[in-house]
């Protein structure tokens, strides 16, 4: 059984809620549960009662450019799911919350800080035999007003990474060891999505994202365990400027969440261009 969240020593334990907490808030009008998965069929096959579906591809991405939705798009999405500025949004999903953390991160670009992630995600909820529903809930539409998207604090672009490299800033490569080494250019059991070069950004520490979780239930490890992993074994400092990356930014959102909220890294950004951009760029440094 996982240690209760408040006893794990996290810097910002409020960013994480347990499945018990979610069950106690199923009908709380101030809470909106959001399921975000890689497999878009999963939500319709059964979800936490009252949860809405936010699909990373169709709801959070611009449909033309490789970028996220604009302020208007975010306002439309929040209004559609019946959220206000005061709504606590709680994300959960498949893959130990990869996509939930990704959605959480996108919401932070728009400053909706009243947000949490359900520890353990969809798998833990189902393993505990908690209630599910196939009914898509309908909430009264709101008139959500958002601030402009502000990428700078938590999102890194390639120019930022190049500048970061010159400063010898901290980089975390959260892909598999094989991707880091350049012996494969995609996740195990995933297709090659087109990177022309393999390897990693020079100086990046290899800390595969899944090391942050307990594999049996998908919950995050304790702060002490995470400190050992990131700060002691890999010499990453919570005070240092840090950039995390993976393939397209989904796995690194998970690590970004762990470092920022659970270990209190004060300046951490997610490079969502990640290897599908870096591995295709002309004349950028690569290490193998």
């Amino acid at each position: 059984m996982a240690t209760p969240i408040e006893q794990r020593g996290y810097t910002h334990p409020d960013a994480l809620v347990s499945t018990d907490w979610v069950e106690q808030h199923l009908t709380d009008p101030k809470v909106r549960l959001i399921e975000s998965n890689e497999d878009t069929l999963l939500y319709s096959s059964g979800h936490i009662p009252g949860a809405v579906h936010v699909d990373w591809t169709s709801d959070l991405n611009d449909q033309i450019r490789r970028d996220y939705i604009t302020r208007a798009g975010f306002e439309a999405l929040m209004s559609k799911i019946g959220a206000t500025k005061d709504t606590t949004v709680v994300f959960y999903g498949d893959k130990n919350n990869w996509w939930a953390c990704y959605a959480f991160w996108v919401f932070q670009l728009f400053g909706h800080t009243n947000a949490k992630v359900m520890d353990g995600g969809r798998v833990k909820w189902l393993k505990e035999n908690r209630a599910t529903s196939k009914d898509a809930p309908a909430y009264p539409k709101t008139d959500y007003t958002s601030s402009e998207r502000n990428d700078a604090p938590i999102r890194a672009f390639r120019e930022d990474v190049l500048a970061h490299l010159k400063k010898q800033g901290q980089l975390v490569d959260v892909r598999s060891p094989e991707e880091y080494a350049g012996t494969r250019m995609h996740m195990p059991d995933y297709p090659n999505e087109g990177a022309l070069r393999g390897g990693h950004i020079p100086g990046a520490k290899s800390v595969p994202w899944a090391k942050a979780i307990n594999p049996e239930d998908g919950t995050f490890k304790t702060a002490a365990e995470l400190k050992t992993l990131y700060c002691e074994d890999n010499k990453l400092s919570p005070a240092g400027e840090t950039i995390a990356y993976c393939r397209i930014g989904e796995r690194s959102s998970h690590t970004w969440f762990a470092l920022k909220y659970l270990l209190g890294f004060t300046n951490i950004r997610n490079y969502d261009g990640s290897w599908t951009e870096w591995g295709n760029l002309v004349n950028v440094p690569i290490e193998k």
Binding site: L41, L42, S44, S45, D189, E193, I248
Partner: protein, 140 residues
């Protein structure tokens, strides 16, 4: 394209996204795993679909009339899309000759799933179709 498969794709194309999702889920619910007379766990790696994170397996058995019968296993409990596709492939291709099955291309995945598909997932499902095609070619 085999007639049954063509009809199935046309049916999917008629549906709006919500109904298409329901239809895919109903096919996933109809999934029947490979019987023990064909294969038992641990399933041989030689039948595993490469690049499919749903841990799918496929078999093709020649029937006395020369047609093929397809069988599938999907080991990942979250592999709903893989189970839906397996059911579709079995319903529309089993009973056809290896030569007919070998003509089926992986573009059917996009035609069936449309918006219900992610980047990684789509490639895994296409790999399932490619695996069926490879078995059919080998049996031809």
């Amino acid at each position: 394209m085999p007639e049954k498969l063509q009809q199935l794709i046309e049916m999917f194309q008629m549906f709006d996204p919500a109904d298409r999702t329901s239809l895919l889920l109903s096919y996933a619910d109809q999934f029947r795993e490979v019987p023990s007379s064909i294969a038992t766990r641990p399933f041989p790696k030689s039948h595993q679909v490469p690049q499919c994170e749903s841990d799918a397996y496929v078999w093709a058995r020649k029937q006395p009339d020369g047609t093929l019968k397809l069988y599938f296993a999907v080991e990942n409990p979250s592999g709903i899309s893989a189970r839906a596709l397996a059911t579709n492939l079995d319903k529309t291709l089993s009973g056809l000759t290896p030569k007919e099955i070998a003509t089926v291309g992986c573009d059917i995945v996009e035609q069936i799933f449309r918006q219900n598909i992610s980047m990684g997932k789509g490639m895994g499902l296409m790999a399932m179709v490619n695996a069926v095609q490879a078995l059919a070619r080998a049996a031809a």
